[in-house]
Symmetry: D2
Subunit: 283 residues, 4 copies
């Protein structure tokens, strides 16, 4: 955890020799691989991999890595990316009034478990200003009377704060298509149902009406189609006939925050690779 | 477990004094209550209860109980039922070619865990005859060339064998509305998804396409609308991007058989009370 | 949830007619029972029950209830207790430096999910003062140079703040026998293993050494014998060979806080009845 | 699943270049890697890997592979093994009277899910002869009046049937040290508790006495110390105060058979590598 690492993620058409070529490249430069994961998607015959390499074991920095690796990458027609654990991702959190996910994320951040920067929190309500500012994090209350203007505002704040990822931590607003298109794979939502069941509003009410015996939560990338983006993480919890909608909401908060925290962690550590409308998560 | 018990299940409009009236009735006759469960449905304000009473602690048999209890039942406008643990329910199992649920149910039956009679097994294929008959259970292979005739046949066999409940143990056929109407709350299906997600055919393929991170199974009463009847029991299991549809099918078999076994057990022990399209399960 | 309720808990030698007698008493006074649970411990043949009654449906207050109920209670040789949902339990939280459980409990409290008063937080370190005081809750930093004096101090603060229950939210100190004896069933601990495995210090290190495939957490009442008191709630989470002790600690935090929150909730709502070294938890 | 595969497992001291060297070897011979997993044990700094390679993509058979690979293996001081999915492992099952695990394993075997040969089943009782023989599998009833002779007998049968692995499917007998030493990593047991809790006899009774809120099962390699060998797989299930020892036994059967089936599958597919008293399981 503590040593500085480069994380290399690659996707390319599958063929013989990819692992060998990449491992050779790393070994030739005396790189120490501490974690390595591979997957081939059967439908697309596309190969995905992720390696964590000790930064200090390599003789070059990220720019040097990029320069050296590019010809090999070209040869295999790779989509690839390298990131440095020393450069924290910048996470902008959007919330409404419910604060269980926010409280959870901020605790993980201030205890050093979630290794990100949080340049600001944005909300359509002012309620959570005090709690956020106690953490020394700027809080922006956006007026939603004009939704289009509000989203322009959010977008501007995200750019201004140099955000990498937007996290909808029970934001309870439908993000417009323009924003989704602008930041593909960079907006993460927590939906309070086990998708694809109970899309849209009031999923716990829907679950109550259907009489399901477990409820769930889903962390996913936001795309134009509501609650239909690539799923990163999900979980469920058992309920029974004695549980009211209020009870479900209460149980649900615990899975929502845990599922969001896990999904965000995978994303931040570069463990999530998108393949069509699905994700590969190299845990 | 071993002592003979009467199981009394009641539903009626909620009001003050129901528990007292019933408990009084039982206590007056020196009945020993070994299990008691209550629930009020908030939407319908209907009260549901279930009591298990040691049969030998009461001075009368079931007919006597019915005679004595009926005036109290009338007073509270009760739907009620009493059953005797000594009279085993008669379960007719319908299967196709996949036998994991059948194998599981027959083992629970022959080991004495599932206290039912299994007068026969019915199938649209002959494959499982040998295994069923090894248990000394009659096996009926029904020709499905003419579906209407096939279901007439099934219905006739069910009546002739004096069946209480029909269990579709991966029967893989859509039961016609007429049969559903004829046996409400008496046909149990195991569906290989976490309903309401992935209704209908090939749910594991649907799950694979959607990229969910858990798959599930649902045990429910069969109604006219496909896979939409009251849910008795559900469960989920974690999968990941490395799991093919075949892997899901394999994981799925384990939850399917466990969910069906639990759901059937609840049904057989009179623990399931239907309330609209939902169930109360007094575990 | 919102209506005021009396919660009646009873234990007594099992015999015919207890439910009838209690239900009669309640019904005679027009009491509206909204939740009722029963259990007989087979080893001791002791009967346990819990009823929630709408306070406004009864013609008397708690003192009146006590006066009216006492003769019936005597007749059945009952240990019994009645509590009023309008009188919140007073919970004193003890912490060390790790704050994930504290953060979780304080969020549940300030969001109105955990209906208790928290008169103060006590710690052997000063680190969490700022966070606690931001909630408007007094924070007492106790010097542990002299342990005996420290526990005298804690005991005095608990009395002075009129505490009902002491919660060791990862307090990481062994409470002396004198304190355990003084507050039986009133000190709750969260232990970071699935007891009885890995009693004592560094349970995650013990789990790592043993090579278990799941780790857990246990919420229990504190007794004189270390980590051996009646268990209220437990849970486990899957790990694998790739998880270091640090990873286990991280996963562990999530189960610890959830298990403590659930256990404390059961305790506060009067759902936990102690029977020897075991608990009955009427969820 | 269906294509023939070679599975290569390796452990050796960790250093730079192992993955590269092995991947190069495979790529040079046009080998198509379909699954690859790596792990470094932090305590021993030992490296473990497993690769599945399509057999037909390589220009040589297993003997050829061994001949070609040995110099590289020597260079890195590897413990290594290669197996062929076309050569099924031979599993000898030992049972007593309880047959839930046996029933489960035989079903997985006859449905083609568990790809092994079962040359015989051995028991200290005759009860399960009929069921085993219905499968066309020889059944040996061993007299346990003289235990030493009985184990000599078992050992002889195992050799005679050319067994690879002995599975104690609720065999309920303590295997003598001599047998454990003779077949290290080749005897698999299912213990009906979540080890290290409740070692030895009657674990469900122990669990009942301790008042735990979950029970579990553990699949492990058998070593001389009772229930202390390397753990392959575990799971738990929730119980509550209402569950008797008999109920625990019933719930337990379901986790026992699932945990054993998963553990055995991992073992058979060469996914389990032993590291001291722990296992690496490349799922």
């Amino acid at each position: 955890m503590s040593e500085r690492r480069y994380t290399l993620t690659i996707s390319c058409p599958d063929r013989v020799g990819i692992i060998a070529a990449v491992s050779n490249f790393v070994a030739t430069h005396k790189g120490w691989i501490v974690e390595a994961s591979y997957h081939t998607d059967q439908e697309t015959q596309r190969f995905f991999m992720r390696q964590e390499i000790l930064a200090d074991s390599l003789p070059f920095d990220m720019a040097g890595f990029r320069a050296q690796f590019s010809s090999l990458a070209g040869e295999f027609d790779m989509d690839w990316r390298i990131s440095d654990s020393a450069q924290k991702k910048r996470i902008v959190i959007l919330v409404s009034k419910q604060d269980h996910c926010l409280n959870d994320l901020l605790h993980r951040w201030r205890s050093g478990e979630l290794l990100v920067d949080i340049p600001c929190v944005i909300s359509n309500h002012g309620d959570l200003r005090g709690f956020v500012e106690w953490h020394g994090i700027p809080f922006h209350h956006i007026d939603f009377a004009n939704k289009a203007a509000a989203y322009e505002n959010i977008s501007a704040l995200f750019e201004q704060h140099d955000g990498d990822t937007m996290v909808l931590a029970r934001f309870m607003q439908i993000v417009p298509p323009s924003l989704c298109q602008r930041y593909p794979g960079r907006i993460i939502n927590i939906h309070h149902s086990f998708l694809p069941s109970f899309v849209g509003a009031k999923p716990y009410h829907q679950a109550y009406q259907r009489g399901v015996k477990l409820i769930g939560a889903t962390c996913h990338y936001v795309t134009e189609e509501l609650d239909a983006g690539p799923i990163i993480e999900q979980d469920t919890v058992r309920i029974d006939h004695g549980d009211s909608v209020d009870d479900m909401v209460r149980y649900g908060r615990d899975i929502e925050k845990n599922v969001l925290a896990r999904g965000l962690r995978y994303h931040v550590e570069g463990r999530v690779l998108v393949c069509g409308n699905k994700t590969i998560v190299f845990r």
